[in-house]
């Protein structure tokens, strides 16, 4: 006689599985240690360090020009903003005023980088939730931005183009025309994103009310960028501490108050519209002039401590440099947005299914090399 029984895994004893380090939805080498009851997650422990390269230690034996090239490798989708953060910090320490042309070009590049990054996030996020088509739509449009980058400075991903004092070289003569063409093109294409994913019933069911982050948690964990702004945390460095040319452009800081996966998604979609608005305001306003200020070949920062924040595509990147007046820094600390955004996942995923954990980690838009540095 066979007795019929139902056993739920993890009901009586902890049932632990490892998600990662080689898992497509962690977008890199990150491991989540999940404690499960059936399919429901009740504990998440992130394990990082699989791609730790000791960038902060290497910086201590590098000159400031060399550090620029390492910062690309942290958040590779915000390469321009990372370069800009170190450059602004060094310029602040030296008291160098960069030419107006440099400020405007830097702002344009930051916004182009933000657009490209949000596009890639949109493709990957759709794919995480099972909508593979988004991947082709997003990459199709992102390709056009990368082409603009490639034409002006030769590289598509890791640019190292913004350096202390200004830019590595002048922009390509086609630069402005191609940006204008791109904006005309993308203004038509962005509504497609909404048609394909935002209004999709399955997508809404998968994202609304999932992984609700309260404003208090966002501030306490230091969750910045679109993830924090989805919870109503007004943390846009472009507004609160304007740098480069952000003080002269008109744009809105996107804030949603629900704090769920869907509102984090909406923040990024709306930010793409705002980025295009900033680009339109600046692309015809690039003043003539030098592309770099006059800098000494060996930069020695005066003794002291300097801190500079910029807004990358994922949140606040802080660069903290301690100098003793030498050509090498004593200490360089990167307060990277993804490091602070990661750990709240232990709180958000509780009580949700494994598939929802994938949606939540996708909506936080994690870049693992930026966590591990």
């Amino acid at each position: 006689m066979i007795e019929k029984r139902e056993i739920i895994l993890g009901e009586n004893e902890p049932y632990i599985i490892n998600m990662g380090p080689q898992h497509p939805s962690t977008h890199g080498v990150l491991r989540f240690e999940l404690s499960l009851k059936g399919e429901t997650v009740f504990k998440v422990v992130p394990h990082c360090g699989y791609i730790h390269r000791g960038i902060e230690k290497i910086c201590e034996s590098d000159t400031y020009q060399q550090i620029i090239h390492l910062t690309d490798r942290m958040d590779y989708l915000s390469a321009h903003q990372n370069n800009e953060a170190v450059s602004l910090c060094v310029e602040k320490a030296l008291g160098v005023e960069v030419p107006e042309r440099v400020k405007v070009i830097r702002t344009i590049l930051s916004e182009l980088g933000r657009l490209a990054s949000h596009q890639l996030w949109w493709c990957a996020f759709g794919m995480d939730l099972g909508a593979l088509t988004t991947f082709f739509y997003g990459l199709r449009d992102r390709e056009r931005i990368l082409d603009i980058f490639e034409e002006s400075f030769g590289s598509r991903l890791l640019h190292s183009y913004i350096c202390p004092g200004g830019l590595m070289n002048d922009i390509h003569p086609n630069f402005q025309k191609r940006i204008k063409d791109f904006i005309i093109y993308f203004r038509k294409k962005l509504p497609e994103y909404d048609k394909l994913l935002t209004g999709n019933v399955i997508f809404k069911e998968r994202s609304k009310g999932i992984g609700i982050m309260s404003l208090e948690d966002a501030i306490s964990f230091g969750v910045t960028g679109p993830s924090g702004r989805g919870s109503g945390f007004s943390c846009d460095i472009r507004k609160s501490q304007p740098y480069s040319a952000y003080d002269r452009v008109d744009f809105k800081e996107i804030l949603y108050t629900e704090g769920d996966t869907y509102s984090r998604y909406k923040v990024r979609i709306d930010e793409m519209w705002e980025s295009m608005k900033i680009l339109e305001q600046l692309v015809d306003q690039i003043p003539e002039g030098d592309y770099t200020a006059k800098m000494k070949p060996v930069i020695k920062l005066p003794e002291g401590e300097y801190f500079q924040s910029v807004e990358t595509a994922r949140g606040e990147l802080g660069v903290y440099i301690v100098s003793k007046g030498d050509k090498f820094p004593v200490r360089v600390k990167f307060r990277t947005p993804n490091f602070s955004n990661l750990f709240i996942i232990s709180k958000l995923a509780i009580g949700h299914k494994i598939a929802d954990l994938v949606a939540i980690s996708g909506s936080l838009d994690l870049i693992i090399p930026d966590i591990d540095r």
Partner: protein, 149 residues
């Protein structure tokens, strides 16, 4: 900034203020760190509710932990430092109960500098393996195989 410095010097007796063109910077006695941090977070004049960055610094003769604080309501910043000359067993108070992000910043500092944090709930290495020997971001750390300097 002078105004904030005045407020802080009233709130933090015993703190030494350094000149820093960017922020108000106070070096507080290590024993009072948690008490002062609690005051800074909850006092209605300061309301530092957001820990921006928490970094360990090794300047050869002293180890220190630097807290960059910001108030999201009052929109001001300050820097708090604790310093020790003890390189064998450096220890400070943990502030993880005030700012949740501190838990992980402190684990990173423990990992790289070997600074321990009292009352920390889960003080393990964050990036390096658990059996890693030494604290690699200290200035006196020597690794003959993976030479970085």
């Amino acid at each position: 900034m002078e105004e904030l410095q005045q407020i802080l010097s009233d709130l933090l007796p015993g703190a030494v203020f350094n000149t820093n063109p960017q922020f108000v910077e106070a070096v507080v006695p290590a024993g009072d760190l948690h008490k002062f941090a609690l005051e800074l977070k909850n006092n209605p004049k300061t309301l530092f509710d957001y820990l921006v960055c928490c970094s360990g610094v090794d300047k050869n003769e002293e180890l220190s932990v630097v807290y960059h604080l910001r108030s999201t309501k009052l929109k001001h910043n300050c820097v708090i430092k604790v310093v020790t000359t003890d390189r064998v067993n450096p220890e400070f108070d943990s502030v993880f109960d005030l700012w949740a992000s501190a838990e992980f910043f402190e684990r990173e500092i423990f990992d790289f500098y070997g600074i321990k944090f009292k009352n920390h709930p889960d003080l393990r290495r964050l990036f390096l393996e658990d059996d890693f020997v030494g604290y690699p971001l200290r200035k006196d750390y020597v690794d003959n195989i993976n030479i970085v300097q």
